[in-house]
């Protein structure tokens, strides 16, 4: 049933590709004389590209438990591997474009990026609590380094410090929760834990475990009240790293959240495509409350922000809240909605940050006031950013709307009407702060009306990110089918 170490290797190819790339990057960095070539970037691109291609090599059919049950190779894991790898690809290109990071060897930066990616690969497929903890730390620790990468900037160091302290605390609480689960059930395999819990365990430790693990996962996806690190880290980190944090670790966090809770604290129900809660604690209700609070806090605080990166940080918090809605429904349609939303969210968010990178390159600033008059100074970038921002709001005809429709639809289908109303009202609030940026770009005249040139490669990247945002708003069948096919999680 479980594949041994050697037998699991064919299913481990993406991770091996990334590992090899990391080692080669280290070697390259150590050996190269000129420190500012773009060779590390291209090597990183190659490695991540190889990882994406290798992800679907052995089509799963049904899933396989690899490495003696430590990890799972199933459609769910493959979806997240492809998603996070693609996000990393875009971020690598963004980093090569960014002037914030220029002037230093980027090899170490890419090493951290790829190490985080490796962690995310493992996190998406982990089925053992030890592996879960290991991969979560593997995602977090290089992220700390990425946040603090700009050594000379105070903001960056502050961001890294806050990230480390917060992350360590959250991980500590989480591992305590894991230890409670191990103590109650005697196993580290999440499926076995799930079965043991289903057969009846005292309520208090189960509740404690569920809540503590929620702390750890909630920290990763920046859900309220575990979000306090997020605005400072997003603001202080170099912008490409911020873009990365807002999409990839969040996606991996959702992967592990779904897999863990649906396996440990719930079991498949007789009705196809739904789960039944097995623990005495009503954790869907807890998460529904978290979702509502996250959306609301994220949106309301974003209204007051003037720094675009901080604003986007709070908007990411709010979007995590929307995605949590799909999580509480205990149905595969809910998971599909989350998966679909993650895909469109990737394009919108990375695109928005890309334009922020471009503006920062040109003006050196990240405040809303630095975006004034962008409509006339760099119309292409401004239109692209407007597309991304309105897609984030969730207005037709953009893909963000379709993502929200899927989430709202399933919430209404399962009868959690209050949550849908909260989310709808939050969407309206979010319009206000996204429109503030659009207003600065198009409705206000700039003090300095000189044109900002957009390099061809950056322009191409913007098109590559904006096109799916537009197209998926009109024709999204392939992505929907991909999400539908990926909901098959291994249940052993």
């Amino acid at each position: 049933m479980f594949l041994g170490n050697l037998g699991s290797l064919p299913y481990f190819l993406p991770e091996l590709a990334v590992t090899a790339t990391i080692l080669l990057l280290v070697a390259l960095h150590v050996v190269s004389k000129r420190k500012t070539t773009s060779a590390p970037g291209f090597l990183a691109l190659l490695g991540v590209g190889a990882a994406i291609l290798l992800s679907g090599v052995s089509a799963p059919g049904s899933g396989k438990a690899i490495f003696e049950g430590m990890a799972a190779y199933d459609g769910f894991a493959i979806f997240f591997k492809v998603l996070t790898a693609f996000a990393t690809l875009v971020v690598i290109l963004m980093s090569m474009d960014s002037e914030e990071l220029a002037g230093r060897s980027k090899a170490e930066y890419f090493i951290f990026l790829l190490a985080t990616l490796l962690g995310m690969f493992l996190l998406s497929s982990a089925t053992d609590i030890v592996m879960l903890y290991l991969s979560l730390e593997l995602v977090s620790i290089p992220s700390y380094m990425l946040a603090g990468y700009m050594k000379g900037k105070e903001r960056s160091t502050e961001a890294a410090m806050k990230y480390v302290v917060f992350g360590a605390t959250a991980s500590g609480v989480m591992i305590y929760g894991f230890s409670l689960l191990f103590g109650m059930t005697g196993s580290t395999q999440i499926a076995e834990i799930g079965r043991a819990l289903a057969s009846g365990k005292p309520a208090l430790p189960v509740v404690l475990a569920a809540v503590m693990v929620a702390v750890g996962f909630g920290y990763k996806i920046a859900a309220v009240p575990f979000h306090m690190w997020s605005p400072d880290v997003y603001e202080g980190a170099p912008t490409p790293a911020t873009a990365f944090f807002s999409v990839a670790p969040k996606a991996a966090g959702f992967a592990v959240l779904v897999r863990f809770y649906y396996t440990v604290f719930a079991g498949p129900d007789a009705a196809a495509g739904t789960w039944r809660m097995t623990s005495t604690m009503d954790w869907p209700l807890l998460f529904a409350g978290l979702s509502a609070v996250t959306m609301t806090v994220g949106n309301l605080v974003a209204v007051k922000q003037n720094n675009v990166k901080r604003l986007l940080a709070y908007s990411s918090i709010a979007h995590a809240g929307y995605m949590l809605m799909g999580f509480v429904l205990l149905s595969s349609a809910g998971i599909e909605a989350i998966l679909f939303y993650l895909v469109v969210y990737l394009f919108m968010n990375l695109g928005a940050f890309y334009v922020v990178v471009l503006v920062r390159n040109a003006t050196g600033g990240e405040e809303i006031s630095d975006f004034t008059g962008l409509g006339s100074r760099a119309p292409f970038a401004a239109v692209a950013l407007a597309i991304f921002l309105f897609s984030l709001t969730g207005i037709p005809p953009f893909s963000g709307f379709i993502g929200k429709v899927y989430l709202f639809a399933e919430v209404i289908h399962r009868g959690v009407y209050w949550l849908a109303v909260v989310a709808a009202l939050n969407s309206v609030v979010s319009l206000y702060y996204y429109a503030r940026i659009v207003r600065a770009m198009f409705l206000q005249e700039p003090k300095d009306a000189s044109a900002i040139p957009v390099p061809a490669v950056s322009g191409a990247m913007l098109v590559l990110l904006a096109a799916p945002t537009l197209i998926l708003g009109v024709y999204w069948e392939p992505v929907a089918r991909f999400a539908h096919a990926s909901v098959r999680m291994l249940a052993f």
Partner: protein, 127 residues
């Protein structure tokens, strides 16, 4: 109150542990609070000063430790753990056969890359 007491299993072997825990908590917190409440508070410059074996303080309390110590500790921990993982492998070396050897070689190889990196970056220099 009685409902709470009903949940406590007096016959359990862990009951004395609970008693110990409670007493320890009560004593430690209690003594601190008690001394705060009952103790006299008379300010004296020497009483509130820093303790340095009875003489006047020679150096300020906040000393900046060189980051080299931290680097060294970090590298030590990493390679010490590598060594720790080498031990069980060494014990089972024969039964693990070629597969085990290659696996450990890969492990040591990856860490070797890290060592070379640290070396080239100057983390192994003391000055």
């Amino acid at each position: 109150m009685s409902a709470f007491l009903a949940t406590v299993n007096f016959a359990s072997p862990y009951f004395p542990v609970l008693v110990l825990l409670v007493i320890a908590l009560v004593m430690s917190v209690g003594f601190v609070l008690l001394s705060q409440a009952l103790g006299p508070k008379r300010y004296d410059r020497i009483k509130y000063g820093v303790y340095e074996c009875g003489v006047d303080p020679l150096t300020p309390a906040a000393v900046r430790v060189s980051v080299k110590f931290y680097l060294l500790a970090l590298l030590f921990m990493l390679f010490d753990l590598e060594t720790t993982l080498l031990y069980p492998w060494a014990v089972l070396f024969r039964s693990l056969g070629l597969f085990g050897f290659i696996e450990m070689a890969v492990f040591v190889g990856i860490l070797l890359v890290g060592l070379v990196y640290a070396w080239k970056k100057g983390a192994l220099e003391w000055q």
